[in-house]
């Protein structure tokens, strides 16, 4: 896939037209480079029913309005189910079918009508009637309690119709648009139509948020953490620059042209470089892509990169009641290894726990799951799962032609690295390493590297643990900034240990895909960078323009910076 895209939407390039936006220029964090211009379409927030809604003047007419809203919901949900089915999302289709039948429920309609006749406004009546059912489901617990969310989805839809506000969920304006939201949920991104969404702006989130990761994997220009984004009215033309984070309502033609020209110049620079990553003086840096097992590997395999630096295997385990069989896993790995025959694939063993719970493996009642039994630690309770996974990887690797390395997530101690390496080699896999996400592992990287063959820095988790700042907490995004000099010092410590032993030290966090930061990481001694496929061309160009000596000088200057903003400024100036 193209690394960037520049989108032209003629219909929206008339700045200052009728209803010109009162919102001034906004700024956030650019997370996927590219310039997009298009009309805003906001994701609907669930409507709150106002407390002071007046009683209906004409209850009979209000009953009809409620019935019409329920009918409209049933029809729309039917259509959505059909659309989901066409996209092969059978599970989503069944939920939508059930929601449609709930909207058409005669008892619901009767109860709501009775409440309206008593003088309740329609939106209140529907809420009260659905809440009665909801309580019954919640009381049943387990699976049924989870289905209460289906009722909530229906209630939000019908209430929005009755209040005359936008429907919650992804907007469908019927034309290409810039999607604006507080934040995107995994469910939103799963159904996002890449042919319609030219840019993404979210009010919350940082460079490592779910939205950022998805935007990069789709190659859609995106800005996150953009305060005030939800104040942009729908249909306002807006420019999104996913490099510097600018979000400009009603941009003038010169501004659009200037940014597009810059964008094209960068694209041309990126296009001028091909093949293995290297600095201007020929120092080799492996450029690799991140991939999820369970995703089709063919797109990633088409990227001009030296292989996969992080194969996430969690997808094989998510959304199912028990672990996948060895056969299932083997088939999934075979397909990936075949796509990367002749290249390297670094498989990360199951990283469950924290924000990725699994019913058959992790304890839902852990008080502090990010600091709990997650990653490699889950093997304390279920050693058989890791054994089965390694068997499947080893079987699939055999004769595949791919150079398969295996690494464990959330290793803290040299002893853990040694035990893991022994287990990997016991399965006939020759190369074993560990992730470095725990500050203790970075500080003791020398002994960890004595116990295994390589390490790979997960900068997102390393930042979370170094700064005691929850990755999912939007308020703390500044603490999780990859430019924090202390975080980079942990990278330097790890890379120095690797250089002393001539063992590879990679970075596979989101930091690796930042073309501004990549030369710094190389200067610190990192030997490979694994990133979203869309980031590879820019990173390759950024490295090709500097010598290793220049990278080292830059790294020294950045390490000495007093804070993250100053560190970034040094890189921008250099």
């Amino acid at each position: 896939m193209d690394a960037r895209r520049t989108t032209t939407l003629r219909a929206t390039e008339a700045p200052g037209g009728p209803g010109a936006a009162p919102v001034g220029p906004l700024a956030g964090v650019g997370v996927c480079p590219g310039v997009a211009v298009g009309p805003v379409a906001r994701i609907g927030r669930p409507a709150e029913v106002p407390r002071d809604l007046p009683a209906p003047a004409d209850p009979a007419a209000e009953v009809e309005r409620v019935q019409a809203a329920l009918d409209a919901a049933a029809d729309a949900l039917d259509e959505a189910a059909e659309a989901a089915r066409e996209r092969g999302r059978e599970e989503a289709a069944e939920i939508l079918d059930a929601q449609s039948m709930m909207a058409a429920d005669p008892v619901l309609a009767d109860r709501a009508a009775a409440l309206v006749t008593e003088g309740r406004p329609g939106a209140v009546a529907v809420t009260v009637a659905l809440d009665a059912f909801r309580e019954q489901l919640v009381a049943q617990g387990g699976y049924m309690a989870e289905r209460a969310a289906d009722l909530d989805g229906l209630r939000h839809r019908v209430v929005a119709t009755l209040l005359g506000v936008p429907l919650p969920g992804l907007p469908e304006p019927g034309h290409p648009h810039v999607l604006v939201a507080d934040d995107l949920t995994p469910a939103d991104t799963a159904t996002l139509d890449v042919a319609q969404v030219v840019g993404i702006v979210t009010a919350l989130g940082g460079a490592t948020s779910h939205t950022a990761i998805i935007a990069r994997s789709l190659g859609i220009p995106a800005v996150v953490g953009c305060r005030g984004a939800m104040d942009l009215p729908d249909e306002t033309p807006v420019l999104v620059d996913g490099r510097d984070g600018a979000v400009l309502p009603a941009p003038d033609g010169d501004e659009v042209a200037r940014r597009r020209a810059e964008q094209e110049a960068r694209a041309a620079r990126a296009a001028a470089h091909h093949g293995p990553g290297r600095t201007a003086d020929g120092h080799a840096v492996k450029l690799l892509v991140n991939l999820g097992a369970g995703q089709a590997p063919e797109d990633a395999a088409a990227v001009d990169a030296e292989g996969v630096g992080l194969l996430r295997t969690e997808l094989l385990y998510l959304d199912r009641p028990d672990a996948p069989t060895v056969d299932e896993q083997r088939a999934a790995y075979r397909r990936i290894f075949a796509a990367f025959a002749g290249r390297k694939v670094v498989v990360r063993t199951l990283d469950a726990g924290a924000d990725k719970p699994l019913p058959f493996l992790t304890d839902p009642d852990e008080p502090n799951p990010a600091l709990g039994v997650r990653g490699y630690r889950t093997g304390r309770r279920h050693p058989e799962l890791l054994d089965e996974q390694l068997r499947a990887i080893a079987d699939a690797a055999e004769g595949s032609g791919a150079e398969v390395w295996v690494m464990a997530p959330m290793v803290s101690l040299p002893g853990e690295a040694a035990a893991f390496a022994a287990q990997v080699r016991g399965h006939g896999l020759p190369v074993a390493g560990t992730m470095v996400e725990v500050p203790a592992a970075a500080l003791d990287a020398g002994r960890i590297l004595d116990a295994c063959d390589f390490v790979s820095l997960g900068t997102n988790d390393l930042a979370q643990y170094a700064f005691a700042a929850d990755r999912l907490d939007h308020e703390l995004a500044d603490l999780l900034d990859v430019w924090q000099p202390v975080l980079l010092r942990l990278v330097a410590t790890t890379a120095t240990a690797g250089r002393a032993r001539a063992k590879p030290v990679g970075v596979c966090g989101e930091a690796a895909g930042d073309p501004l930061l990549a030369p710094v990481l190389v200067g610190l001694g990192v030997t490979s960078l694994s990133m979203a496929a869309a980031s590879v061309p820019d990173v390759r160009a950024a490295l090709a323009e500097r010598t290793l000596e220049e990278c080292r000088a830059l790294a020294d200057a950045v390490l000495a910076a007093p804070d993250a903003a100053a560190a970034r400024q040094i890189a921008l100036g250099g």
Binding site: A98, Q140, M144
Partner: protein, 94 residues
């Protein structure tokens, strides 16, 4: 014309209880029966009978695998309708 109410019992066959697909199938069949003039209700032990055309009411019963439910139908076509609905409730698939 007099209508008599007939009842039948059925044991929930779906391993996940009377919701999702089995509940949808039951509600669809009861809705069709309603259009033919046959009104169907369903209850579990200790609950009031609810309209079988109402998906929300049916899943709110919380009938689990192995629970016995009572179906009642009033109308000319009641026996055949009950037979059809019992078969849906007792089906083992989920």
């Amino acid at each position: 014309m007099t209508t008599t109410t007939q009842t039948a019992t059925a044991v929930v066959g779906s391993s996940v209880g009377l919701h999702a697909r089995p509940a949808s199938l039951l509600v669809k069949a009861a809705t069709k029966a309603g259009r033919r003039g046959v009104d169907v209700t369903i209850s579990v032990a200790g609950s009031e009978a609810v309209d079988a055309r109402s998906l929300l009411s049916v899943i709110a019963l919380g009938a689990r695998h192995g629970d016995e439910v009572t179906l009642s139908a009033a109308g000319d076509d009641a026996p055949a309708t009950l037979e059809e609905l019992v078969a849906i409730v007792e089906r083992e698939e989920d």
